[in-house]
Amino acid sequence: MQFSNLNLDYFSILPEIITALAGVILMLIDAFSKKAGRKLSPMFSLFALVATLASIIALWPRASYTASFAGMIVNDHLRLYFALVIVACGIIATLLASQFLDDEALPPGEFYALMMFATTGMLMMASAGDLVMVFLGLETSSIATYVMAGYRRTDLRANESSLKYFLLGSFSAAFLLYGMALTYGATGTTNIEGIRQILIAGKVIYPQMLLVGVAMMLVGFGFKIATAPFHLWTPDVYEGAPTLVTAILATGPKVAVFAAFLRVFAEGLGTPTAPAVGAQIYDNWINALAVMAAIGMTFGNIVALAQRNMKRMLAYSSIAHGGYTLIGFLTTEYAPVGFYMLTYALMSLGAFAIVQMLAREGDAKTEISDYAGIGFEVPNLSFPLAIFMLSMAGIPPMAGFMGKFYVFKSAWVSSPNLRWLVIVAIINSIISVYYYLYPIVVMFFRPPVSDFTKPRLSPMSQLALAITIIGTLYFGLFPNGALKVLQQKTPGAQQVAVQK
């Protein structure tokens, strides 16, 4: 933190301001008028999220490395791109939420407010230029999502999911925090760009302590993105939480944590040519990450083969996808990770949305066997689900294929000595085809279940589904637009914010 140059640039935190204020207003709407809230809250949150989207686009021409708020906020292309993806996830989730809350007769006000606060936290993670902000954003989004996981208060499974998420989430946050504290002690600064400058200059005060600190931060981030060997909470939490909340947990926070992960590791500690401990740290974390990615993919895919519950299967698949995404870190650029997160978020939200529509009240029908023979009964749900499954398996022309292709290709080119990882990943995506095809086979080729009734679809849910389907196909067929946005280089030299 530098206090001589605070640079209070309020425009640079406009997205966060809008979502935070919207969260407070949503709570007030709920407090003053419960009845009107049910109609008004979703409309208002959509309006606020679209305004946030507009403010992010308005910030685009101002992208630079110049940090505002004493180095706390960085407004570069990484931040803007990830903020865009996070808000897009928020919009899709909000569109889906009104039907979910109506069907389950749950109170609407807090849900939208919590979602706004969670989005605020996620946006803070994307824009953090300082370890303090990373921690604050992470906890803001986590605390809101702990509550959302247990939103169906009388349901034992939701209770358990929320409790497990809370205990393991705060346990891992403590690890992350200890890592940050040791990194601060070793380098004398909490600013991420400052840490980078100190590593390049070779001025680390306690090199060994920095190694321990970075290792603990890796554990903390690994927990939050649910990669093996820190994934144990994921299947339980994803299965027990209401399906819509699972959709939110699996996308928005994951995208945001990847943004912060990139910022701290790929930017702050991405110093392969630094003297002494700098290069050693880079070697260590990149190798640790490669191992985590390999275990995550293999474990996620193999255990997913044995799953008979759709939500659990998708949870293991999301562990595997986390592994694939980590391969993008080998390039120490944000483009592969960013593009993979975009495609993953779209197909995940779509798949969970359909699971939610088919699950009925209290998530009663989430076993894959419940989907038997529904293929031609509800083609408007079964065909999209097939598209998302094929996309996750990485079959062209869906977005999932493009995401995988881009990550694998850039890792293959950029790091010749870690090419084995790409080969492991390709073998893994072949294994994963089996369990992604399984629900499709069950839907279309099994005799129908007798008690199946068509689920109700509100116009808003249909719109959300349409967005995810079009997105999945669009980014699979025409990825150039998104890649061009991702490859923009932030203008201007990196601003140094080192404290003396």
Partner: protein, 100 residues
Amino acid sequence: MVPLSWYLALSAALFTIGVAGVLVQRNVISIFMCIELMLNSVNLTLVAFSRFLNQSTGQLFVFIVMAVAAAEAAVGLAIIISVFRNRETLSVDEESLLKL
């Protein structure tokens, strides 16, 4: 003056006790207290560094950690209460509905 390493050793010991407690304890409230112990041991580390580096950054970080820990405690205890209402037990061994 007490050297920096003493503070660091103390906070590392507290952190380890917290981790061990989370892994060993079976009562949700005890686990939660152990997590709080972990957070506070980190606070001790931050304050010690702040003092020995002659900076205020670490102390500011501690304020933010304390605010976050308070928010977390509020939400955490609420979750624990709602679990207790439905199950009438605080043992994590009973929380085994969701398993492979």
